[in-house]
C-alpha cells in the first residue's frame, strides 16, 4: 500500500460572498430614461450608438442617453450617482 502524505492546500483566502439583491424592475420602459453606458472598450461607443438608434426606431417612447465613465475599467462614482439619480435603467457594454 502506498504511503499516505498530508499536503497543504495551496489556495489563498477568499472573501466571504454576501448575497445582494437585484434592483426592482419597471413594468415597462415606456416613458422611461435608459442610460447606455459605454464602457470605453475599443468600438463600444459605436455599439452603443447603434443601440441608441435601435431604440429610437423600435421603441421611441424610451428616452436613451449615452454616458461614459471617466476611465476604462475604473468605477466612476460620479457617473454611477448620475445614472442612479436620473435613470430608470441602464445597459452597460460592450465588454467586461
Amino acid at each position: 500500500m502506498a504511503e499516505l502524505l498530508t499536503a497543504h492546500d495551496p489556495r489563498g483566502y477568499p472573501p466571504k460572498v454576501v448575497g445582494k439583491r437585484l434592483a426592482q424592475r419597471r413594468e415597462s420602459l415606456d416613458g422611461k430614461l435608459l442610460y447606455l453606458v459605454d464602457c470605453l472598450f475599443d468600438n463600444s461607443e459605436n455599439f452603443m450608438r447603434e443601440l441608441e438608434d435601435w431604440f429610437a426606431k423600435n421603441l421611441p417612447s424610451v428616452t436613451t442617453r449615452l454616458i461614459q465613465p471617466r476611465q476604462s475599467w475604473v468605477d466612476d462614482a460620479d457617473m454611477r450617482a448620475r445614472v442612479a439619480c436620473e435613470g430608470d435603467g441602464a445597459i452597460l457594454g460592450v465588454g467586461l
Binding site: A2, E3, L4, L5, T6, A7, H8, D9, P10, R11, G12, Y13, P14, P15, K16, V17, V18, G19, K20, R21, L22, A23, Q24, R25, R26, E27, S28, L29, L34, Y35, L40, D42, N43, N46, F47, R49, E50, L51, D53, W54, N58, L59, Q68, P69, R70, Q71, S72, W73, V74, R80, A84, G87, G89, A90, I91, L92, G93, V94, G95, L96
Partner: protein
Amino acid sequence: MLLEEAGVPSVAVHTNVFAGVARATATANGMPRTRQTFVPQPVVDLSRAELRAYIEGSDPTSGRPFMQEVIEALTSPLDAEDLTGLSFDRATPRLLAPDSEGNLQRLFIDNHWTDYLPIVLPTEERVAAMLKATSHPPDEIVGRMRPTSFREFWEYTVEKVAVNAVMAGARPEYFPVILALAASGSTAKSSSTTSMTNMAVVNGPIRHEIGMNFGIGALGPYNHANVAIGRAYALLSQNLQGGSVPGESYMGTLGNGLAYSACFAEHEEKSPWEPLHVQKGYAEGDSAVSVFFGLRYVQEGYGPRETWQEKMRRCLSAGAHFPPLLVMDPIVARHFVERGVTTKQQLIDWCAANARLPAREYWDDQWVQTLLRPLAVAGVEPYASRLKVAPDEVVQMFEPREINIAVVGGEAQGAWKMFGARYERTISVDAWR
C-alpha cells in the same frame, strides 16, 4: 452590479467568449442572477452595420433574440433568488485529506493548482522547513492579489506563500525573495486577453547568497534559483488570487511561455551603470526585487552598431502603449559608455525622445484607444496633448519615468532584448528575511 445595488435595473452586454468569466464574476459578487446578455465575439474592428446586425440578431449563448433579452432583463419581475442573491463561504482548508503521492499530484493538476509540470508536494515537513527561512510568523498576512481589476481580492499568509514556494521546487534560502514578490500584490497571472505576465529582477547581495545567475543564460532556464523563484511567483499568483483557469479566470487568447518563470538578477559587477534597485531608491547594499508587468512583446538587437539609433527607434515604435524594459549584456552597456552614454538615465531620455509614431498610428492601437484615449479626453497629460497632434505629426509615446534598463548576461555576445513591460514596484527582500 454597483448600479443594481444603487437601485438601477441593469443589464450588461458581453461578447460570448466571456460568458464563463462574466458569470463567475457575478457569483463572486453575491449576485449570480445579474442580468447579462451576449453578442458574438469580436466587437473590435467591426463596422456600425456589423454591430447593428449583432443587435438585431440572437444572443449566441441562448439562441434568443438579443434585444428581447435586453428588454426582459430590465422589465421581467424578480423571483426569490433575485431578491436574496447568493451568500456563501469559500473558506479553503489548511491541509488536504491524506493520500498517496500519485493521487495528490493528480488532485493538484485536476484543480488547476499547477503549471501542468510535476510539482513538489507541499507536505507539512517541507512547508515547515521553508518557514524557517524567514523571521515572519506563518500566520502573518503578506498581501492580497486578484487576476484583474473587476475581480475580488484574495488574501494570503506567510504559510500560504511557503506552500507555493515548495511546490515550485524552491530552496528555503530563496524564500525572502519569494515573499517580497508575493508582497508586491502584482499578479504574474493576469486574466487579460493580451496574455500578460510578470518578470522579476533581483538586485543586491541576495543574488550571491542564494547563487542566482546573472551571467550566461541568466534569463533561463540555466539556474535553479532564477527558475524556481520565477516559477514560485507564477504559482503563488494563480493559487493565492483564486485561480487562473482558461474561460473562468484567465482569458489570454494566445498564452505566454514567460508565464512559467521569468526571473533574473542584474549583473551589477559588470554593469558600468547604477543598479536598478538604486535607481528606485534603495542603497547598493540592500537586497530588493523589482516587478515588471506585461511582457507582451520581445524584440532584440546587437551592438550598438553604427546604425543603432535607427534600429532602436524601430523597436521602440513597435511596442504600442507598453513601455520598454531594455535588458542588455554588459558588452552593450560598455559600448554605450564608449559612445558617451555614461548613465542609464541618458539612454532612457534618448529612448523617450525617440519612441515616436505618427499620431494616426499611435491612436489607432486598440489599447491606446481603450485605456489612454479616455484619459486624453478627460484632459489628463501627457495624453491630452498627444490627442491634439495632427494625424501625420509625430507623438512621443513614453515618458522617461516609464522606461527601464537592466544589465545582465555573460559577455558571450553584445546582445540586448526589449520587453514590453510596465514597471510596477521594487520591494525590499531584506524586510522578508
